[in-house]
Symmetry: C2
Subunit: 422 residues, 2 copies
């Protein structure tokens, strides 16, 4: 009655899955719609920054050589021949002892090579004409932002696979990316299995619970930047299930099912994989929760058979499906970032398998602490509300106590990691 | 020519702005569309969790009293009279030395009070009928998840103002929230000012730069969970500007402009506020970058006059506009979370004003480190790409060196803080 299953270690399971990591194609979207998308190509500077020599402050553009003898005892006067705001171009030629009133960001008149800050100049009038007076000297280049001093045209500023944040979007705008190359979102199909599942709008019935996994996973998929195509609940009948999965496989890039992977008599998912002719990469992992997580590939497409248990489902998604979706998006760091933190609670029970505890990070005096985000029973959905990380407790013969240093995987982090299991 | 402006301290400026914090109304959206929205009401358990007494494992439901004498030397046999999967209900009454094969999550037969795990029972057949044998005793309640043992109906599980993440969404589904009360998004109007600004699709011209601030801020607004209504670039003419701002004010909940707040002759924003009759809360703050950040209120609506300088604009938004938008969303912790970290770089130059340095967090051996995310010039847009935090360097007469402990504000954090300036 019990299947014989060989449990493999978590890093090995990740490695097996990553062999089939697909890579998405590029599409172009309007810059107005690019937030949180992944760059399909590197962002290059299409011009120098600054694009021209400009004034970094409000003040007066002068020829530095005219100021050489200026000092407290020897104020030097300049005739203010013109005024230019940012976006304008000086019309007059600047001669000896002439100045141009210039605004922040404005193009330097070509004869000028220094800017006197407004606060350091005194306005006067002579013969009805505006003048300004300075009491110090300037060197060529003083207060000038030179073309290309920050970035040269052609420089690669952001690599492909980066998620677009406010800073990246600012760069895209700066360099004229009205249409932005992003990675197309994969079609991630989602099925929930289980006769016990009620739809969110159905009233409660004895022996039944509402389907929460499909909603939870769709939100996890969104967090990574993709979207779920929800195919609904799988019927209890094997043939119906099989046909549904086969049809979905034609339409999706990745297929996720929840439930049906245990050793129970109603757990059809392994049989479906078998009848499909899909290659099961593993069906037992040395981890808790989620040891029955099963992943298969069919013509190179990955089928994730996640546990029906909410917490196991949650962890299984983050460990195995998340890096696949991030790889699809060309991320160079598809895995979760792993950091060290100090345990704030005891875990006295030893466990032969590695445990992944849903947890909450705390910063205190420059140190990182971590504690469970709720009751740590694998069926406790409330512990997911405050969950921003997963504590890794290696399997073995001992428990862990408050104050121990542990590894923690970050869930909200946008940076990621090349390979967290080193 | 220079306005006299009185600089106020950052905490005082935040306090002034928060006096006018608006609070958004509630609307209902489908659970399918609720990701990343803010809860407009608390989430309450609409039923117990578990909703009924259930088996947490695959196994056999028995009456514990029948197992009292079971031991290695005295195996006890049970007739297996029925099989129930999750979602099904037992049909037969369980008598002495009878058992029901039960799947994970299934409702316990009402006569049973313990579950024998599948691995600990041996299947046999007797007279053509299925039996199972155990070699240990069970107490009432062994391996039973009792109704309400995790959560009682009526319990408040998530407070209003929380952003919906995968865990919150799972709870919403569990408790039948097909339509979810969320806070309506505010209309955040956005104007860019500056004759030097080219649209993203326009070719470069001498003296001009492309408008990046509007795109950057729209992305910052998105990150907080709202959406920008971009009104375009403001014309150079005062009357046109004035009319445009006045019209926008009728349509928006919050108005943000970038540029035009310096002391330059082309900086119209203060004049517009004056002619409107808006109350200027402050027009100079003891901070760098962004000292000219100007905020006004007009009939209780906030007008944010952010600097046209990209980095000043970025910081001004996060310090003053972000908590207003999060307050709108009923967040109890609208400000950025402030943590301690160790500086990874030197900042030798003293500065009279508090500096906010765009920075990047690093975790190393359980400690938090922070370093500038790029060149720290206020016009350097590239330093925003890796920016996930802001280092606070208090104003004063000394610089800071590598190894110093500093305060850091977190930009990507979803938790926030009630008041970061304690």
């Amino acid at each position: 009655m019990l299947d014989k299953r060989d449990a493999i270690a978590v890093p090995e399971a990740v490695k097996q899955v990553m062999k089939y990591a697909p890579k998405g194609e590029i599409e172009y979207v309007s810059i107005d719609k690019c937030d949180q998308r992944y760059l399909g190509d590197a962002v290059k500077a299409s011009h120098d920054i600054p694009p021209f020599d400009r004034a970094p402050y409000d003040g007066f553009a002068i020829r530095a050589e005219d100021s050489v003898h200026a000092s407290l005892d020897n104020p030097v006067e300049f005739e203010v021949i013109e005024e230019i705001g940012a976006g304008y171009i000086a019309k007059k030629e600047v001669g000896p002892y002439q100045a141009v009133r210039i605004m922040t960001g404005a193009l330097m008149p070509k004869e000028c090579n220094a800017v006197v800050m407004l606060e350091l100049a005194k306005d006067i009038e002579k013969d009805g004409k505006p003048y300004m007076v300075i009491k110090r000297s300037y060197k060529p280049g003083d207060n000038v932002s030179y073309q290309g001093s920050e970035t040269k045209a052609g420089e690669v500023l952001v690599q492909e696979g980066r998620r677009i944040n406010p800073g990246v979007k600012a760069l895209l705008a700066t360099f004229g990316y009205g249409r932005v190359p992003v990675v197309k979102k994969p079609v991630v199909g989602l099925y929930a299995t289980g006769t016990e599942l009620l739809d969110v709008n159905e009233p409660m019935e004895p022996g039944k619970i509402r389907n929460s996994n499909a909603y939870m996973i769709s939100s996890q998929i969104n967090r990574v930047g993709a979207e779920a195509t929800y195919y609904g609940k799988l019927e209890d009948d094997f043939d119906t299930c099989f046909k549904a999965v086969k049809k979905a496989l034609d339409e999706v890039d990745i297929l996720i099912t929840t439930g049906g992977v245990s050793v129970g008599d109603y757990d059809y998912v392994p049989e479906i994989y078998k009848k499909l002719g899909a290659e099961v990469l593993f069906n037992k992992i040395m981890m808790r929760p989620g040891s029955v997580t099963t992943v298969a590939q069919y013509n190179g497409k990955l089928l994730f058979g996640l546990s029906g248990n909410p917490s196991a489902c949650f962890v299984g998604f983050e460990l195995y499906a998340r890096p696949i979706i991030r790889s699809w998006f060309h991320s160079q760091k598809p895995h979760m970032q792993k950091v060290k933190a100090t345990l704030n609670s005891d875990f006295t029970k030893a466990n032969p398998f590695t445990r992944f505890v849903r947890s909450k990070l705390l910063f205190n005096e420059g140190k990182l602490f971590v504690e469970p985000s709720g009751l740590d029973k694998s069926n406790v959905v409330t512990s997911l509300v405050d969950c921003d990380s997963l504590i890794i407790l290696p399997g073995g013969t001992r428990g862990f106590t408050k104050g121990d240093e542990v590894d923690v995987l970050l869930l909200e982090d946008q940076i990621g990691s090349e390979w967290p299991w080193n």
